[in-house]
């Protein structure tokens, strides 16, 4: 039954992506703004402009353009960026690892922090400290990631200049990488000095992305832990002589994890969306930052490629969350 559901979801992926493509394609072209107008030098003749339009296929009707683009996309050709004059596919592929590393780091921080806060909150349940923790969670939920980015940048980049505030790695650092997963690669090859430089660049944007998500994880997990602790099996564990920390960890946590992953997991998409502004603020060279440039330049092919990439990431994440929940809950596995 559960596996049937997952197959259904897999089958729905292609039509979903197709729908995303159509909406983005059409919206870009009906909204005012013209990529050619952004790139022509002053004093270009009308004939020059027409030639450029024809070169990028923008003189055709929208359905015509879509068919051309979609046909090429099916064969793996997502067109050339108008502003960067390179293949969209290669551009996105080169930048994607930076965003994936950043988001993964942010997720790790958020889950770690959120879990600690949730356990602390449940442990002091019914006391004044619980109110303080709930209030703190509320505050962190209310402040968005880009605001944290600005606060952290001013605090640790300007006021107390502890950490670098731009880019992914110091430009003067002379290192070559074989992949674009810089952090993972440097860790795997044991170049710890490089890894440390990368981490120093990554930590502020990662924390900015992590804080609201950590609050979300804390809120969901704390509620789930409280509910599970009130269930008969957890109460009975007390009557069997187990200490409260042991019960929370061994009996309650595995149960509370199920709703937490189900509800919190899909919210990682919010964190991914947050990379757009946060990467921009820290000049971090990921696809979020690239998306802003692409929009400013009305770089249609690049915008399309980037949105498709985000859509695929979102779908993959949702699917991964569903699979994980199925693995965590034996009732779903056999049901």
């Amino acid at each position: 039954m559960r596996w049937g559901e997952i197959i259904r979801r897999l089958v729905l992926i292609p039509p979903t992506l197709f729908g995303v493509c159509i909406i983005v394609f059409v919206l870009l072209r009906v909204v005012p703004g013209d990529p050619i107008a952004m790139m022509i030098p002053p004093g270009a003749s009308a004939a020059d402009i027409d030639r450029l339009r024809a070169f990028y296929g923008l003189d055709q009707s929208i359905p015509q353009q879509f068919i051309t683009w979609f046909g090429q996309a099916l064969s793996g050709n997502f067109g050339r960026s108008i502003s960067l004059h390179q293949s969209v596919f290669e551009l996105v592929l080169a930048r994607l690892p930076a965003t994936l590393e950043l988001s993964a780091m942010a997720t790790l921080i958020a889950v770690g922090l959120g879990t600690v806060v949730a356990f602390t909150g449940v442990y002091v349940r019914g006391r004044g400290a619980e109110w303080a923790i709930d209030g703190g969670i509320g505050v962190f939920l209310a402040i968005p990631d880009f605001l944290w980015a600005l606060i952290l940048l001013l605090l640790f980049g300007v006021l107390i200049p502890l950490l670098p505030i731009t880019g992914r790695i110091d430009p003067q650092l002379d290192v070559t990488f074989h992949t674009n997963f810089y952090l993972i690669e440097s860790l795997l090859t044991g170049r710890l000095d490089v890894a440390s430089a990368l981490l120093q660049h990554m930590i502020l944007p990662a924390v900015a992305l992590a804080l609201p998500f950590a609050a979300l994880v804390a809120r969901i997990l704390k509620a789930s832990l409280s509910e599970a602790e009130d269930q008969d099996y957890a109460q009975i564990a007390r009557a069997r002589g187990f200490s409260r920390p042991a019960i929370l960890l061994r009996e309650v946590f595995p149960n509370a994890l199920i709703p937490t992953v189900a509800l919190g997991g899909v919210q990682i998409t919010l964190l991914l969306g947050g990379t757009v502004l946060v990467e921009r603020i820290f000049s971090y060279e990921g696809i979020g930052n690239m998306a802003i440039d692409a929009v400013i330049n009305r770089d249609f092919p690049l915008i399309q490629g980037l949105i498709l990439t985000f859509a695929i990431l979102f779908i993959a994440l949702n699917l991964a969350v569903d699979l994980l929940v199925t693995l965590l809950d034996p009732r779903l596995r056999h049901g």
């Binding site: 008969d232 009975i236 009557a239 069997r240 002589g241 595995p254 809950d329 034996p330």
Partner: protein, 295 residues
């Protein structure tokens, strides 16, 4: 000889300070070694609260106002937490009411039994598995090895209750508190479970405090019984004596409300509301006296 369990003059209030309700108003009872004592009374009489107080499972908003709970001569309420925890599950065990909610839904049956054996008896993983298999065999579960590998939702309610009974007797306790262990089961399963409890009790030599509504069950398996009403003991003695010559009008009324094979059904009479009413108002009157105190 000291009793296995001696509850003395236990007062428990529940609810927010100021308007707490008294759920136990000076309840006392004793359970001797190897004895099966029935604890009866209408719904809300405080039977479960009494059991929970012994197991340290009172709700967070409940307070023990006075009284003692002695287990084998030692006061459970006064003893340090780690010492109490080492008794719970090992010397004092519980058979819960609802087998559907009393097992952890995400852990295999085997893991749930063996974690307890390892905790209290310091068994190795292998030994715990061996012992768990024996325990399931003892509660008449066929293919115990297979059942150990299943999750609770994969076995029937009756089977779950057997698992819970096995867990209760796993560490050879001297006292088992059974809070209506059969009410959630259907009638045919109820009988088997009762026989099982009785058999394990004899084999392991435990005393049982058997909480129930069912006077028929009390007559069958309990040598002694306690009648609780409004948090206070109304009657206490050998089951045979109490059932044959009930001294308190409430016990007589309870008996009249119980179906029996040797009596026509139309002889059944509900406990008169007026009687319950008068008992409650008496309870509340005594509460007020207690609050006023010996000024």
């Amino acid at each position: 000889m000291t009793a296995v369990l001696a509850v003395q003059d236990l007062h428990v209030a529940i609810g927010p300070r100021g308007k707490a309700a008294n759920v136990l108003r000076g309840a006392s009872l004793e359970v001797q070694a190897g004895e099966v004592r029935g604890l009866v009374g209408e719904s809300g009489a405080g039977k479960s609260m009494l059991g929970r107080a012994v197991l340290g499972l009172l709700p967070a908003n409940a307070v023990v106002q006075s009284g003692t709970i002695q287990f084998e001569g030692r006061d459970l309420l006064a003893m340090p937490e780690p010492e109490r925890r080492s008794l719970l599950g090992r010397r004092i065990a519980l058979i819960p009411q609802d087998p559907m909610t009393s097992l952890n839904p995400v852990k295999r049956v085997g893991a749930q039994i063996s974690i307890m054996l390892r905790h209290h008896l310091a068994l190795s993983k292998r030994e715990a598995l061996e012992r768990a298999t024996e325990l399931l065999t003892e509660v008449a579960i066929r293919e115990p090895r297979r059942v150990l590998d299943l999750y609770p939702h994969e076995i029937s309610g009756g089977m779950r209750q057997r698992v819970l009974i096995a867990m209760a007797f796993a560490c050879d306790p001297s006292l088992v508190i059974a809070d209506e262990p059969t009410t959630a089961l259907d009638v045919t399963v109820q009988r088997q479970v009762l026989q099982l409890v009785e058999r394990l009790r004899q084999r392991h030599g435990a005393a049982i405090l058997f909480v129930t509504h069912d006077l028929g069950v009390v007559a069958k398996i309990c040598r002694t019984m306690t009648v609780l009403h409004a948090g206070r003991v109304l009657e206490d003695g050998e089951t045979a004596d109490v059932l044959v010559k009930p001294r308190h009008p409430y016990t007589r009324a309870l008996l009249a409300a119980t179906p029996r094979a040797d009596r026509p059904a139309e002889a059944l009479r509900p406990v008169p509301p007026a009687l319950i009413e008068s008992l409650w108002s008496e309870a509340h009157r005594l509460d007020r006296l207690a609050v006023a105190g010996p000024a």
